[in-house]
Amino acid sequence: MHRLILLLALFGYLPAFTQYKPLDASTINRIKEGVAEAARTTNTISSDFTQEKEMTILKDRILTSGKFFFKKEQQLRWEYTHPFSYTIVIRDDEITIRDEGEVRSFNTQANRVFAEVNRIIIGSVRGTLLDDTGFKASYTQSNGNYIVRLTPLLVTLQESLQEIVIYFSKADFTVDKLELFEPAGDFTRITFSTKKLNQPLSNEIFSLY
């Protein structure tokens, strides 16, 4: 009986090991080059996104969704459309928020977590994050993705973020999915879909005034 349980457990876990095996140095270099090349040739991204906040202890989750826009060099727009209307525009170091019709601006440096999330998202889109000395990186892969796990080295950031997992598409090295793990066990998964690269995006998209 014990052998049977052991066998079942072994077979149950084997697919996980084969799916996420560590990568060799040459594959890691290929990923870095692919991401850097994608960043160099990608001027704009527009995409839908779904966001799931998993509250592991509560066995519950919060689902939100909306539209995402990026324009080189450092312009981002997160537009939440469900279940509420809320827009964040990040231009360089300035964040502007439209919440229930009210627009506010502040500097990312005033909000450490926002600054880090901003740095992570822009860094993953531009490919600079993989060489960021503030994180320890490990590389694995699944069928459709190269998976990069980033562990913050700064103690101040570790208080808010335990690990960031970026799923790069094997097809075009753009970000398919982003997971932000928190110290208490909760995590947020942002999945990008219907991505459009290098479509013209007007500057008005990145202004809320």
């Binding site: 509560l58 939100t64 509420f84 506010r104 995590f187 947020t188």
Partner: protein, 235 residues
């Protein structure tokens, strides 16, 4: 130095006293109305928005203003009934307990806490919010909002002169509270409460749909804390 300290404390007490948390000009219901008058709320109850069996979970859009800081995000409240042994026999009783998770829009947690009768546990808190004084006040706020101790102590009913609001006065879990209902007693308008001079709290309710308030504003005048909640989903 000592006189400065006493003056400061005196000033603080005076200022907190000026907030007038207890509603003024209250008359006991029995003195106010003729004995044959129909009064639907002669027996006051505490708000049941967050009570079993109807309430399970709610998601709110939240914004918090504390002094010059402005935070926005989502506030999730889930009922997690706790079973405790009854004092009288071997039976277990189900007590209302709540888990509250507040995060920013990108999902990063500001705080995660539990509220139950006699329990207030902060499981996680974003470091800049990690201030004991703040959590003592928020404990009062969430106890007033969720009323986990409802039904454990008697409630006295009053009518407020001029407004004709029905006022239910009680002490629940060490917090003195006044629940202000519309004159017909069918709509909760405000809850005011405090456990000490330092944590007066004021909760207002508006935009009722299906007997649940879609807008809840919590205000702590002493530390200039405002928490505004707009209901997104309920089940």
């Amino acid at each position: 130095m000592r006189s400065f300290l006493f003056t400061s404390i005196g000033l603080l007490l005076l200022l907190s006293g000026c907030q007038s948390i207890p509603p003024r000009h209250l008359t006991p219901v029995s003195h106010h109305l003729p004995s044959d008058t129909f009064l639907p709320t002669a027996h006051c109850t505490l708000p049941t928005f967050f009570s079993p069996p109807t309430f399970q979970r709610a998601l709110f859009k939240a914004s918090m203003d504390i002094r010059e800081h402005h935070l926005t995000g989502l506030l999730f409240i889930k009922m997690i009934p706790q079973l405790r042994s009854s004092r009288c026999d071997n039976d277990t009783v189900s007590l209302p307990a709540y888990r509250i998770v507040c995060s920013n829009e990108l999902g990063m947690t500001y705080f995660d806490l539990e509220v139950a009768p006699g329990v207030f546990r902060l499981n996680y808190c974003f470091e800049p919010l990690n201030k004991n004084a703040l959590w003592r006040i928020l404990e009062t706020d969430f106890r007033l909002l969720l009323s986990p101790e409802a039904g454990t102590t008697p409630i006295k009913t009053f009518v407020q002169e001029e407004s004709n609001y029905l006022v239910c006065k009680s002490k629940q879990g060490g917090i003195s509270r006044w629940d202000l209902y519309s004159p017909m007693g069918d709509t909760l308008l405000e809850v005011r409460g405090k456990s000490s001079l330092a944590d007066p709290s004021w909760i207002s309710y508006a935009e009722y749909h299906r007997e649940f308030p879609f807008r809840i504003n919590i205000s702590n005048p002493l530390i200039k804390l405002k928490l505004s909640l707009s209901l997104l989903s309920l089940n």
